[in-house]
Symmetry: C2
Subunit: 250 residues, 2 copies
DNA sequence: GCCGCGCATTGATCAAGATCAAAAAACGCT
DNA sequence: AGCGTTTTTTGATCTTGATCAATGCGCGGC
């Protein structure tokens, strides 16, 4: 039974196969393939880094690569002509980036922390995809998980209250945090503005709801509001309006 | 250059390859494969119909098949414990249903009109996927298109006004309508309740916004509010807050 | 035609969150 | 440490869409 984490990081499911850094992960992708194909993958890789705040691609840019996050954190955003912005995805380590079969990025990709990507030339990756059925069918599953996560977020954006939205995001970040110790603790990769953008709210509302959750003893803050602590994760999930515990049968 | 329709129907992209009914479409999927595989597909198919209003699967149900819509219209919905419901997808003819690699349906699937599906046994389809790389890599692209559509909808749910949401949905329905004649005309497959569910609004708000769009001369109604007419599609797109015309480079 | 039911529209009021505005922390820099 | 910048918090008010409550309309049955 594997832990199902309902967010935009389903591509990271690969990382559950004993590999945290990029090269090992891509080896895991091809676990069912023979050694030759693994070498082929290793051969195609390159790395690149961006600083916090840098734009990786604008809406409509040609993206010549696919790849995955090695370190750091990036956001995907879509916007309206008049400047309204909605974040549609949050990329964390081990998440997949890019679109085999499509040249153009349909949303803006921005590094929110210093970021390193492991990249493959898109066309060569597509060729590989056509030759390695296990890789392709794994990628289908991953895309569909990603789709489920997007649809979960639609439920949040369409029906949840401000408090539930904020609690949901905090729970998501805490779940993905490296430490499992009690109390749960995680550094927020996103500032208030990015959180608001992700949640379909304004900065002020996010701030007020965080204050309210703190007042109610559901969470504590540290490090100048950049670190969340949680003693009672069940209470946080209740505040998120969604007390399923994220365990799913395969 | 193909028309990019930003909704949940990206799976229908297959239908652009000269095939409207299900068997032909699946043949198109395997256009690059050899004839034997096409026959294999034909062999595995079965059909089933549901009446308007019937539930096809509940959240958490085991879905033993994958397939596609031959005729009619279905909705995907996700809900919170307290009864709040959000529609997360609208399935129209030629759209794909189901999740290779996953047994459980993560949302409720309901027929909104009389509906016929063309189905494949899920496990046999997965086997096929592992054997036919072109099919798998095509399915990756389709899933990613579907993901883009879901993320477009996140922008709508997170940032658009009630008027923009309603206009967006009407534009979407008109775009998918069979007739291209002027004035544009389409029967609404969804009642006000389903529209509200899709748009993250209430029935009353949807009704008021439709009235307002009618008052402003952007649309007309017919057939007791079940048919939309539109003389000025550009005006509708403007009201949708998103006047890109849906043309996308491949 | 007339009745009854479900669906859609319209109206009055309310409340959650947005907006406008200011104060308070946190952080980087010299 | 001191200063300026940026981010976060807090406060007051306004607006959009939700809620509560009728009313209207279309359609099928007899």
């Amino acid at each position: 039974m594997t832990r199902y984490i309902p967010n935009f990081t389903a591509f990271g499911a690969l990382a559950s196969q004993d590999c945290a850094s990029c090269p090992i992960r891509h080896r895991a992708v091809c676990a069912k393939c023979d050694g030759a194909e693994m070498d082929h993958l290793a051969d195609m890789k390159s790395y690149r880094s961006w600083e916090a705040g840098e734009t990786i691609a604008l809406e409509g840019d040609v993206l010549p690569f696919v790849g995955s996050v090695v370190q750091g954190c990036a956001t995907l955003t879509r916007s309206l002509e008049d400047g309204r912005v909605q974040m549609v995805g949050l990329l964390m380590p081990s998440d997949f980036v890019g679109r085999p079969g499509r040249t153009v990025a349909p949303y803006e990709v921005t590094a929110v922390t210093d970021l390193t990507l492991c990249m493959f030339d898109r066309e060569r990756f597509e060729t590989l995809l056509n030759e390695a059925p296990h890789l392709a069918s794994r990628l289908v599953e991953m895309s569909l998980d990603e789709l489920d996560a997007a649809r979960d977020w639609m439920l949040l954006l369409g029906r949840k209250t401000a408090r539930e939205r904020v609690a949901t995001l905090l729970a998501l970040v805490l779940r993905r945090a490296p430490t499992d110790a009690n109390p749960l603790r995680a550094d927020l990769p996103l500032g208030r503005e990015a959180m608001a953008s992700y949640l379909g709210l304004t900065i002020e509302t996010v701030s007020r709801q965080i204050t309210a959750l703190r007042r109610d003893g559901v969470i504590r803050l540290d490090g100048g509001g950049r670190t969340v602590l949680c003693d009672d994760f069940a209470a946080l999930l209740t505040a998120a309006g969604d007390d399923e515990d994220g365990i799913m049968p395969s």
